[in-house]
Each structure stands twice: as structure tokens, then as C-alpha cells.
């Protein structure tokens, strides 16, 4: 008679144990005289027996406690009848699952170990990690200098912004520890590259925001562009970071990245819309101005044309506000 493969697993993520049964009747239980000893206190000392004949396999529950399920069907308690079954099937005793397979059944194809991507390879090189964090620091210093230049000299800026300079290093260190836990490897350079890159794009995006909202004289259009940009970028960054600290597949990492980034941005957008009506304050005047004029074509409107365009905009807006009040 053909032998039977029993895969024993308990709830949770513990490693399953495989057992071959080729001598029947095959007895399973917690007692030491069983053919398969189950370390589960919810399983009876002698819980069940597997028999075989020319028709196939039968199972007999000899349990006094907690019962036996085959598939979704519970075996009658106390009757000790033989019950036919065919493989593959699942038997549940106590909190333990037994997956029963025929010995000749095929196994899943072998998973090919994914080689780390070309991007991660480059990102793990020391010169990229260091130069990116250096670029971040220079950019931070440059933008700080603009804010501080009125009263401070550069040493003061350095001292004041010390914490800002250290942000990527701090993030990379934390993520390295996470990587050590999950992957048993520090991968510090990769983490430093990702953190520096993320921080760099973050501060550049603030500048980009200023430029875009100067260029688009409509704040809503600028907000929308920034939203799309940050949605794509942060989803990608999150996915990359996830891949760097775990063996997650590309698909799952992308899924999580998009899910987290877009949820957060969605909540912020809704918050902005909800917060907006505020009658006691000044309007959000679009007073951002830029030194570089990056408009595609300078305005050639005459003053009367300009006034009539403005009138058109405002009449529309005022009518909307009044209509909103009436509703």
C-alpha cells in the first residue's frame, strides 16, 4: 500500500513538520506510544487512527476530548466508526492541522531566489551613499543660508541646523537595525542612500512647490500637481524601503507603498478641504514670488482687459459663495 505524507502544523506561523506514514493502522495522539506524537495539549492521548484497505484510506476517531474534523465535517464522537477519505485532505484535531497528501503528489515549483536589483546594487555602493548624503547636507545648508542670512554667519547656521543634517543618518541607522532583524544583514549603505535620497527630494519638493505655485497662478492647480508628484514619489520610496529591509516581492512592496502613501495623502487632502472655510482670517493670498521668471509667455494684456478678466473670475466666485450660503 502506498504511504501517506502528513504535514503537521499548528495555528500561527510556526514551521510545519512532515511525517511519512507507511505502517497501518497509524495512530496519532499525545501519548508516547503513538506512531505520530503531537505536542498539543488540546489533543487526546490517543486521538485517531488511520487505516487502509483496497478502497483507500479510512480514519477512526478514538478521541475522548475535543473531537476530530475531516475537511469541514466532524466525526461522530464515541462511535469509533471507520470513515473513508481520499487525499489530499485536511484533518483537524485540537488546535493542530494535519494535511494529508499522497506520497506521489507533486510539490510546488522551486522558488528562484531573486537577485538584488541593479538599482539596489548601485545604491549599496559607498560613493553613492556618501555623495547623496553630502548633497543633502549641502542643499540643507543652502536653503538654511537663505533663511538665516540676515543675522547669522555660516557657523551659526551649521550649529542651528545640526539636527537637520543628521536626519538621514538617523533614519538609515534605525532602518539598518530593522534590516538586521529581518534579513540578518545591516545593509547600512543601502539604507543611507535611500534615506538621503528621500530627504533630499523632500526639501527639493518644498522648493518645487514654491516654483509651481508661482507659475500656476491657480493654487488649486499647483496643489494638484504637488499631490500627484508626492503620491508617486512617496509610494515608490516606501516600496523601495520595504524591499530593502525584507524579502517582500516587488508586487507586494508596490501594493503596500501605494496603499500607505495614497491613504496618507488622501487624508491630508480631505483635511485641507474640511479646514478651508475660515471667515475671520485673511484670504490665502497667492503672495509667493520667485526671482526667476519661468512663465512660458509674459502677459500682454492691457489694463482694461486685465480688469475684465479679473471681474469675470470674481463674479463667478462670488456667485458660488452666495449660492453655497443659500443651500
Amino acid at each position: 500500500m502506498e504511504s501517506l505524507i502528513i504535514r503537521v502544523s499548528k495555528g500561527g506561523r510556526s514551521q510545519p513538520v512532515f511525517h511519512r506514514a507507511d505502517k497501518f493502522p497509524f495512530r496519532i495522539g499525545r501519548a508516547y506510544d503513538n506512531d505520530l506524537i503531537i505536542a498539543d495539549e488540546t489533543v487526546s492521548a490517543h486521538h485517531l487512527e488511520i487505516h487502509t484497505n483496497e478502497d483507500g484510506f479510512q480514519v477512526k476517531s478514538i478521541a475522548d476530548e475535543n473531537g476530530t474534523w475531516i475537511g469541514k465535517e466532524q466525526l461522530d464522537e464515541g462511535q469509533h466508526d471507520l470513515h473513508n477519505f481520499s487525499v489530499p485532505t485536511t484533518i483537524n484535531i485540537g488546535r493542530t492541522h494535519l494535511d494529508l497528501h499522497a506520497a506521489h503528489s507533486p510539490v510546488e515549483p522551486t522558488l528562484i531566489i531573486a537577485r538584488s536589483s541593479r538599482l539596489s546594487e548601485i545604491a549599496s555602493t559607498i560613493w553613492l551613499a556618501l555623495s547623496l548624503s553630502l548633497v543633502y547636507m549641502l542643499a540643507t545648508f543652502y536653503f538654511s543660508y537663505q533663511q538665516f542670512s540676515l543675522n547669522n554667519d555660516w557657523t551659526e547656521i551649521l550649529v542651528n541646523r545640526l539636527l537637520y543634517f543628521a536626519i538621514p543618518i538617523a533614519i538609515a541607522t534605525v532602518m539598518s537595525f530593522v534590516s538586521r532583524v529581518f534579513l540578518h544583514s545591516w545593509r547600512y549603505l543601502l539604507q543611507l542612500t535611500i534615506a538621503s535620497f528621500g530627504c533630499l527630494v523632500f526639501i527639493l519638493s518644498e522648493e518645487l512647490n514654491a516654483v509651481i505655485s508661482y507659475f500656476f497662478t491657480n493654487q488649486a492647480a499647483a496643489d494638484f500637481l504637488i499631490l500627484i508628484f508626492s503620491g508617486i514619489f512617496f509610494a515608490w520610496l516606501l516600496a523601495w524601503q520595504m524591499r530593502a529591509i525584507s524579502t517582500t516581492s516587488v508586487k507586494r512592496a508596490a501594493f503596500v507603498g501605494i496603499g500607505v502613501a495614497w491613504t496618507v495623502l488622501g487624508i491630508r487632502t480631505v483635511q485641507d478641504i474640511v479646514d478651508r472655510p475660515d471667515f475671520s482670517t485673511q484670504p490665502t493670498m497667492h503672495n509667493l514670488v520667485q526671482r526667476f521668471d519661468i512663465r512660458l509667455s509674459p502677459s500682454e494684456e492691457s489694463v482694461p482687459e486685465f480688469i475684465s478678466d479679473v471681474a469675470e473670475d470674481l463674479e463667478l466666485g462670488l456667485a458660488q459663495e452666495l449660492a453655497r450660503d443659500r443651500s
Binding site: 543660508y145 514670488v289 479679473v310 452666495l322 450660503d325
Partner: protein, 422 residues
Amino acid sequence: MSKILIKFIATLGMVLLSNLAGAQDVAEELYSRYESSVYRVEVVTPGVENKASVGTGFVIGRNDILASNYHVISNVVNEPDRYQLEWEGVDGRRGPLRVLAVDVVHDLAILQAEEPMGLPMQIADLPENGVSLFSLGHPLALDLAIVSGTNNGIQESSLYEKILFSGNINPGMSGGPTLDRSGQVVGVNVATSGEAVGYLVPATYLAELLAAARTTDFRPESDLATSISNQLSENQQSLVDEILSNEWRNISLGKLSVPGRVFDRLECWSDNQFEEGTNRYTVNASVCQGQDSIYLSEQLRAGAFSYEFYWLDSEQLSPSAFYQIYQRSSRSRFPSRPGEEDVGNFTCSTRFLFLSGQDFKANICARPYLDYPDLTDFMVLMTLVGHDTEGVIFTMDFSTVSLENGLAVLEKFLGALEWNPS
């Protein structure tokens, strides 16, 4: 020489004393004559002990008609379901009052009692400057008081005509009469700003309001809200007509030539700050502002007008640092703080404008008044762009103006603006 001086001072002192004694006699006489014609006017909530507001009112035109300030009784007009109006005499008698008509622009109201209230006062023209006047009222809601002071004529730099009165008007005296020596009303107490600086509404506006009420035989106006709306509309129209018809004279500010004072009743000043050492940039400001506004309710003021040109340049700052300061330098604000029930949100139009060879970025915003749909709060913020370390910020705030009028004033401003590097 010193003898003559002492003699002169003594004579002067005697003249002053006799004048003062005269003033005291007049005050005594006026007080006793009109004691029973001046009342405390109280806004009360039925069933609540505390008064919402207290002012003064006086009998005018007919023996059951009282005059007071609009701001004393505005709660009753705005929330008639919540508040009631009552008078209280010096003898402690009380009675109800109702609002007949109001003039919000000049802060006046006429009220009617249900019984004869005493001797009506008469209205007279404003005497010459320097003449003694006597103001009656209930300072801080205390007993009736008479305050003597002098007439200084109509204030030139106020948007809405007021007489400057050198006498101590206190809160609570609002709505009380100011009399000349003969006991005729020349003004109505309205505001104070500091020691012995009081403002009166010229009594001629009260005469106009009374004359209008007399034509309907003192029937209460059926729709005060519409009446107020019309008054505000007419007021902004005449203000804008005056601004536009005036001949504007430009002043030079940095590399620009900008309109100076666009009409007489604005207060203008210029401000030059040369920030050396720490700030390393220069500011040239020209600010013009109407000194007063129209009281509508506790949080609402109408008819305010101001504009400002703010020139910045720097020889020491980097362009980036300059622009950081530049875009933070706009300073426009409205005097009124309306709520959701008063106004809609601001709506803005943001555009670039090529003017006098230069690029400007312009924000023009307006919000509608829910009760007066033709009127808006109108704001302008314009900045010169395209220069490394120089720029100008132009702001204009005009409250309760129609959109067309706001834009018309803006258009004239834009027409007058010139790039004029010397």
C-alpha cells in the same frame, strides 16, 4: 517789563475765570432745563438682569421721539427676537422704545416711546470753532452728567463727517446731545479717543433723518435691513465717485511713481527705514488710510478704505534672501472680523500683469456680504516681479464696496502706476 507781564497774565486769568464762570452758569441752566429730556437708552434681553448695551437718548422733533446712536441700539436691529429696547429717566421711570429709522453711515437712530417724554430739543447749525459746547449723557451708565468743551469744527481727515469736540466724552454718553450756549443741539456724541478728544455727529444729519421720518408721520420703517443695505450702497457709491473724480497726484517711491493721497479725507504718511547692519535692506512705504469706518455690529465694520505701497530694495542681500523677505512683507488687513453668518469666503483671481514695462503678480480677492449681496470686501495684493533685489508691494483694502467700484478704483490705480527709474 515783568510788571506788565504779571498784569497781562492776571488780566488773562480773570478773563478766563469769568469765561469759565460763564460756562458754569450756562451748564447749570442747560442741565436743569433738559434734565427731563435726556434718557438712558438700554438694550435688554427679556428675563435677563444684565443689559446688553447702554447709551443715551434725547427728545427731539416731537415729544415722544428720541434720538440716539445706531451703535447703541444695533443689537435690537440685528437680532430683534433676542433684544428689546427700553428707556429710563433720571427719576427711575422706565418704558419701552421702538426703532423708527436709522442712518448707519452717520451712526444715528431715531426711536419712539409710548408716552410723552418731555420738552423736544431744537437743532441748530454748528457755531464757529472755539465756541463752548455742552455735552449731556450718562457716562459709564452713571447718572446724567454735563460736560463742557469746545467746538473744533468738522474733522477734515475722517471718511464720515465728525465734529472734533475737546471735552471728556465717555462710553455711555453715546447718543447724548451736545448743545450750544442757547441750548440747541449741534451734535450727537458718538466716539472718544483718549483724554478730551471726543467726536460728535453733526446734527444736520439728524435733521435730515427726522425730516424723512416726518414725511411718513413717524411711521416705523417697515424694512430696516433694506434701508441699511441701501445706505451702505449709496455711501460706497458716493465715496468711489469722489475718489475717481479727484485729480490724483503721484509721488515717487523707489523706482516707481505711485499715487499719493487720492482724496482729501484720507490720512497718509510715508515711512522710510534704512535697515543697516542686521537687516541690510531698505524700505520705503507710503500708507494711506481712512481714519474711521461704519459700525454695523459688534464684529462688523463697513466702509473702511486703505492702500499701501511698500518699496523694498537691497544692495547686500542675495536675491534668494531678498525674495524670502519680500514675499513675507505684505501687510494688508481689514478692521472687521465678520462671522460665517455675515460673509462668504474670499474668492481670488491671481494673474500676471505687464504694466509700464514691468511684470506684476496680482491677487485680487473679494468676499460677498450675505445680507447685502451687491457689496463685497475687496482686497488687492500686487507685487513687482522680475528684479533681483528690488520690488514693490501694493495692497488695497476696501470694505463693503461693490465689485465694479472696487475694480474701477483698482483700474485707476493701475493706470497711475509708473516705472520711473531716475
